[in-house]
Symmetry: C2
Subunit: 226 residues, 2 copies
């Protein structure tokens, strides 16, 4: 079910004197602008005026639709999580043998994080705030279990096939995959200032990704199957 991309990019509207009503586009416009601004500067660092500037609409509209700054931030966070879930759900690996399926998951996560730095930054920011806002997103716990369930299915199949260690923990595997994929994007600035940015060149990134795959494999595979 592709989401019927109605491209009404907000550029098209409102350049003349009079205007047309188009609440959905305006809301989406605000949400995108807000995401960029919040991701760039954090909750307190973000400026409403800066969001307005990224927008085709006015400050008035932001408060009209979203109430206050924090609610807008929450809406941004919610939307960002939704998109990630959607992307994850589209990863179909049921037909692959367990070790290859696991590789696919790792590669997907690593790549996906790299391609969505704004999402990573929102999560960083949310962690700075101890996840206080995220806790208000209801659909969260239920849908994020999906990620674990996916790994759980792979692990069960792997154990049954005699490929994986019998005591393998999907949660720990997920922790490891996330840690390296997340760090790779989140800490790029400080890491490369400290140790140079060689590791962030394209070929080095491919190497790192493979390193993560191997790392995960080695903690999942039975010693005699490595």
């Amino acid at each position: 079910m592709v989401s019927e991309t109605k491209q009404k990019t907000a550029q098209t509207r409102s350049q003349g004197r009079s205007w047309k009503q188009d609440p959905e586009t305006v809301k989406a416009d605000i949400l995108n602008a807000a995401r960029a601004e919040f991701a760039a500067h954090g909750l307190s660092g973000a400026r409403i005026s800066a969001i307005v500037e990224r927008t085709q609409t006015s400050k008035r509209m932001i408060f009209y639709y979203f109430g206050d700054k924090e609610s807008l931030y929450l809406a941004v966070l919610d939307q960002a999580y939704r998109e990630v879930r959607e992307a994850e759900a589209n990863l179909d690996i049921r037909h692959l043998p367990p070790d290859e399926a696991l590789r696919k998951v790792v590669e997907f996560t690593f790549d996906h994080h790299r391609q969505n730095p704004d999402f990573i930054r929102l999560v960083m920011i949310e962690n700075i705030h101890d996840g206080t806002h995220m806790s208000r997103i209801e659909t969260l716990a239920t849908t994020n279990i999906a990620a674990i369930e996916q790994l759980d299915r792979i692990c069960r199949r792997g154990v049954e096939a005699g490929l994986f260690r019998p005591d393998v923990s999907p949660l720990v595997i997920h922790w490891q995959i996330s840690a390296m994929s997340f760090f790779n994007v989140a800490n790029r600035a400080t890491f490369s200032m400290n140790f140079g940015d060689d590791l962030f060149a394209e070929n080095a990134q491919l190497m790192l990704r493979e390193q993560v795959v191997q790392s995960i494999a080695s903690s999942v595979l039975r010693p005699d199957r490595v």
Copy 2:
């Protein structure tokens, strides 16, 4: 060389009407308060007034000694990095065989990050700001290379002893160790909201640490030596 802990905890001074001059203690007091506040709320989120409240001194003194908010933040960052370096330097592992030395480094990093959440948060915050402030800390690049050099020595010894793969990269090893140790602290909030906080119980943390040790070992050791 123990640093002559002159405990003048700032509690002792200035409860009466009149006051005594004691610039060093005041500066240190401000710096500690500022670190807590910046770590808690970020650069823009931190409030000078909140720093003052954590302090025995006045707002005026903060600007008197540190100029402006950003310079204070920089001083905090600088001091935090200094302390970390000092702790790292005290880790003596030259006498250990390479595999055990590597284990020690991993365990040290993992534990140290856990025990210094404020430092982790400062690094997170600095990454949000793309490391722009950190770049002004001069002694950084030189001293952080020490971490790599330490790993490099271990790796050389490991390769010479026929224990490690000949193509092992100290930088990549460091990346991996940092990634997992850092993520473990930095993303605790969001991770546990998404997947529960089981992994952050003490015994689970010991298990995770061992997992990291094994993970690193498997990417360093020659296949036939695992």
